[in-house]
């Protein structure tokens, strides 16, 4: 799905001017940076943090939707949802894999997630209360994710860009399956329609917040843009998402829960766009910092899986060592026999 972006990223570097200028020249020439290339420490750190947050978001993001796999109301929906949540695990894995090329291990990143040190997208700290939430997450949350991830396919860091290409290719079905669920509800019984509207009411603002703070408040954005880790500003992506999504809601006969939402000719360089009402940033920061309804449960669930799986990982490791030892023994035995 998607990372919150750059909360707490620190892009400062101490390398000399010539080195930084040469690096910037490579970036400006649209050269990709590859794992063993010389890079400013700030560039590396920013990427480790962003890719890590992104990976954690995918992994924690399995939980709210996973909450409904066992209750999906038809077998077709059950299979699609299981495949989707499985994909998210895959996306987390591709991203951990990309981050590991920067010299950080998955174990380190996992420890940081479980200790609460590493952040992940605030959206996953909201609960999924009805089946309509599953459709709405696919539609809005995956929709917002795609807005963010498509530009990341051109990110300057090669392994991240390649992981994102793979993720985007796979995610093309996620938003469509979500919208199809909501559409079915919106055309269904009164209870189903009400369920769809209720889900939109609860997920709209958190989805809008997924793009992160306003550009003026986004401390580290500028450096990330210069390094082409990030290609568009938070506000630009948010606007793009809103402009795409409001007509989709209208098509369904659902109402976006923003009384201030109105068409504004002056937006998007005079091409017009939907102007949204004020965002509750207090809520955003509260949830990012651990005060959301589900923050504690999400981390507890991840910790439980990790802790309860420890004996399995240890057994696999122990068996691998035994196998290696036996093989070495056989080789040695073979040599002796040959002599």
């Amino acid at each position: 799905m998607y990372s919150q972006g750059l909360i707490g990223a620190d892009g400062r570097t101490e390398e000399d001017e010539a080195f930084l200028a040469a690096f910037q020249a490579r970036i400006d020439a649209e050269e990709k940076i590859e794992p063993k290339d010389a890079m400013p420490e700030g560039y590396r750190k920013t990427l480790v943090r962003q890719i890590g947050q992104h990976a954690h978001s995918e992994i924690v993001g399995m939980l709210p939707e996973g909450n409904w796999i066992t209750r999906a109301p038809s077998l077709r929906r059950k299979a699609a949802l299981l495949a989707k949540v499985q994909d998210e695990g895959g996306h987390g894995l591709y991203l951990y894999s990309a981050a590991e090329t920067l010299g950080v291990t998955r174990e380190q990143m996992t420890e940081e997630l479980l200790s609460g040190k590493a952040k992940y997208s605030s959206i996953f700290n909201y609960p999924t209360l009805t089946w309509a939430d599953i459709g709405t997450i696919g539609w809005l949350v995956d929709g917002a994710a795609i807005m963010n991830q498509i530009p990341l396919c051109r990110c300057s860091y090669g392994p991240y860009a390649r992981a994102m290409i793979r993720v985007c290719k796979e995610e093309s079905f996620h938003q469509r399956q979500g919208y199809e669920i909501v559409m079915t509800l919106a055309r269904g019984t009164e209870a189903q329609k009400a369920m769809a509207q209720d889900a939109l009411n609860r997920w709209w603002w958190p989805s809008i917040m997924m793009f992160g703070p306003h550009d003026a408040e986004s401390a580290h954005s500028e450096q990330s843009m210069a390094w082409k880790i990030k290609r568009f500003s938070n506000d630009a992506l948010r606007q793009k998402f809103i402009d795409a999504t409001v007509p989709q809601a209208e098509f369904l006969g659902l109402k976006v829960p923003d009384p201030d939402m109105a068409w504004d000719e002056s937006l998007n360089d005079g091409k017009g766009g939907y102007r949204h009402g004020p965002i509750d940033w207090d809520e955003f920061w509260r949830v990012v910092k651990g005060g959301g309804v589900m923050n504690r449960d999400r981390i507890k669930a991840r910790r439980k899986a990790w802790d309860e799986g420890a004996w399995v990982r240890e057994a696999a490791q122990a068996h691998a060592e035994k196998r290696a030892a036996r093989r070495a023994g056989e080789d040695a035995g073979g040599k002796v026999a040959a002599e």
């Binding site: 109301p73 019984t189 068996h319």
Partner: protein
Amino acid sequence: MSDAIVTALLELADDHLVLGHRLSEWCGHAPMLEEDLALPSMGLDLIGAARVLYTRAGEIEGKGRGEDDFAYLRDERAYRNCLLVERPNGDFAQTMLRQLYFAAFMEPYWKAALGSSDAVVQGLAAKALKEVAYHIRHSAEWVIRLGDGTAESAARMAEAVVELHGYTDELFLSSEAAQAAEAAGILPGRAALRTAWEAALKPVFAEAQLDWPEKVWPQSGGRKGEHGEALGHMLAEMQVIARAHPGAVW
């Protein structure tokens, strides 16, 4: 006659749906991310097979019932799965052993079903045979690693055998419906598959340093709708939304 065929197809479909559902419960909670991907793959194979079988059962029945009617609107007394597949996941050792027991049975079963007189069953058999071969490979590798891993994993694996082996006998029993389906050439017989099943499992047990249990109390009843207590909870969860909105489309 066609009633018996429908029932026999439902027995098989229920086995697949219930086990697929159990595997889906792991998604997001597996011991490592790689298994968070492996378990749903197997679950999706099983749910896919169940859908084909339910749909076929509905066609033969001819009363307009489809896959979701069978999956979501029958209670536990009407479910016909064997007891093995409904066993709760337990720990990873139990999940893997349950998978191995079932897959090692289904491989010779699907092989025999390649000769089914029903084109749908025959087509499914060809597809499922490949899937189940992989399920055996994956679960057997884990049974070996856990059985011959650490002292803790070996103890858990041995415990899994104690926990589950008694449920395997039911795999080889044919209900009256299944016997009718066998006589009609639609589904294969079960009893004859025991040799192949044991031949597949015993080398895995040996490599896993697990003792093959000589004495077990066989459990059965699933084919008569006499289940353990766990299935009712599973179905209550699975069916809650569909049941709360009768007639709704999802």
